[in-house]
Subunit: 250 residues, 2 copies
DNA sequence: CGCAAGTTTGACGCTGCTCAATCACTGTGG
DNA sequence: CCACAGTGATTGAGCAGCGTCAAACTTGCG
């Protein structure tokens, strides 16, 4: 069973076995890291690329008044700043929200693989385009949607992304190792208000969330409330046909 | 006098004259476009890259309820979706906020130049990294800053970006062809509240804004209010020394 | 000169924030 | 196995920042 990273790229490109084994090499040496650890610190000039194999992380920035804005969630299969070597310094930090397995790959090694396997290069760029589209959706949500819409949209997004790496179980449940404060800091809300908002969604029977596990009971209704359309999460069809891209929800 | 695009790239790389002339070729055929025109429509699969030579545009998305969230301002020198050819379809639209001169360049032509001149390639990638950093700052602002902080930060950002392409005049004034509604849709506020917020800033003598022209009278104070630090707008030093990157404000 | 678009101002209400207390859960050590 | 501490979840009361609605005014433009 390949890891989340490979499962993710398989959605974006039709990989040969030699391509898969090149990817396996990249991820052959994952490290166990603990919740709260910083992977990249603001101001750093990192020369390695972090690859999430299990567990969750986030990009975030702390403001002067002590508040935190989370800029992205890093899920299993995600990688962190493909093009970071161009940068003079990081303008934000990256930390783990749960215990995780992370492969720390020298930038040059990834670039080597990208040069040898153009299909992988293309898939990785597609994946960063998706990351950007996610960021735009976050902006839209925070800028123009109510709390309940934002939360709904976010839950749809996370469920969909997890589904793409095979982390949603048969019964629809999935791990959601976020505190309500983490969610709040990503949604531009307070944890108190997130609590009330989730309570509303639970009360309507749309979701079940408890003990770091979640389930979207009524995906269509939740998507409608949040104005969620999964298209932006899978913009680059793999070279092969649709069989490689099964429908996500309908 | 080279155009804004070239002035911008010169901040990011030390260009030879043959590099400059390759860039001039790309931008040799600008078209005059009018305010309100759409350059790219959501759902399109564009194969040309839009290059702003004068005037302002924006990326934006319209929501079901009719509201609009602006995702980015395109200023003279900015280009629009270097890597768009990978995408299946655009998840947002691009339109002009003022009359403008736009060069519409086939993606292949730009990629050709990037292959022949690696320094240009690097500079273009740096420029997209800056665009992403701007987007992150917008998210931080909308998520965690008050209206007055957001507006201050945005004005600092715009002034700084214009300065980088030589569009801030000696006396500190610059063109700001935005309606208050445009500003509001970018800040996640309503135009009414933007009006009151600008009035406050004007009242404190921090800015002067009227008739599509603006001036930041007290840059340091405005930056302090907005929590603005220009570092993210110039993350990639040019290969040459600091002389090529004069201080922006202190 | 007159219309259309944008700006400014006021009154009022709601969404989401603050402060604070209580409750539940997890993990740790005895 | 239990007690305890620390973190996170939940709930309540009160409030303020920003939105809504609406009207008057100003500016740009044909």
């Amino acid at each position: 069973m390949p890891n989340a990273f490979i499962r993710k790229l398989r959605r974006l490109a039709d990989l040969t076995s030699s391509e898969v084994s090149a990817l396996l090499d990249l991820t052959s040496n994952p490290q166990a890291r603990r919740r709260g650890e910083e992977l990249v610190r603001e101001g750093d000039r990192p020369d390695t690329i972090q690859l999430m194999l299990s567990g969750w992380g986030c990009r975030y920035k702390l403001l002067d008044d002590g508040s935190r804005q989370i800029l992205a969630f890093l899920l299993p299969g995600d990688l962190c700043d493909l093009h970071v070597s161009l940068l003079d310094h990081m303008d934000h930090s990256v930390a783990l929200l749960s215990n995780a397995e992370v492969a720390s790959v020298p930038a040059g090694e990834i670039h080597g693989v990208m040069e040898r396997f153009r299909k992988i290069e293309r898939a990785l760029w597609c994946s960063t385009l998706v990351d950007e589209a996610i960021l735009r959706q976050w902006l839209i949500g925070i800028g123009r949607r109510s709390a309940i819409e934002r939360a709904s949209h976010r839950l749809c997004e996370l469920r969909c992304r997890l589904e793409l790496v095979g982390l949603v179980e048969r019964n629809g449940e999935f791990d959601l190792p976020l505190s309500q404060e983490d969610l709040a800091d990503s949604l531009g809300l307070t944890s108190v208000h997130v609590n009330r908002t989730l309570a509303k969604l639970k009360g309507q029977g749309l979701i079940e969330v408890a003990q770091r596990r979640a389930k979207v009971s009524q995906p269509e209704r939740l998507a409608e409330i949040g104005g969620f359309d999964a298209a932006y999460l899978r913009p680059c069809a793999p070279a092969s046909k649709d069989a490689a891209r099964p429908p996500l929800h309908g």
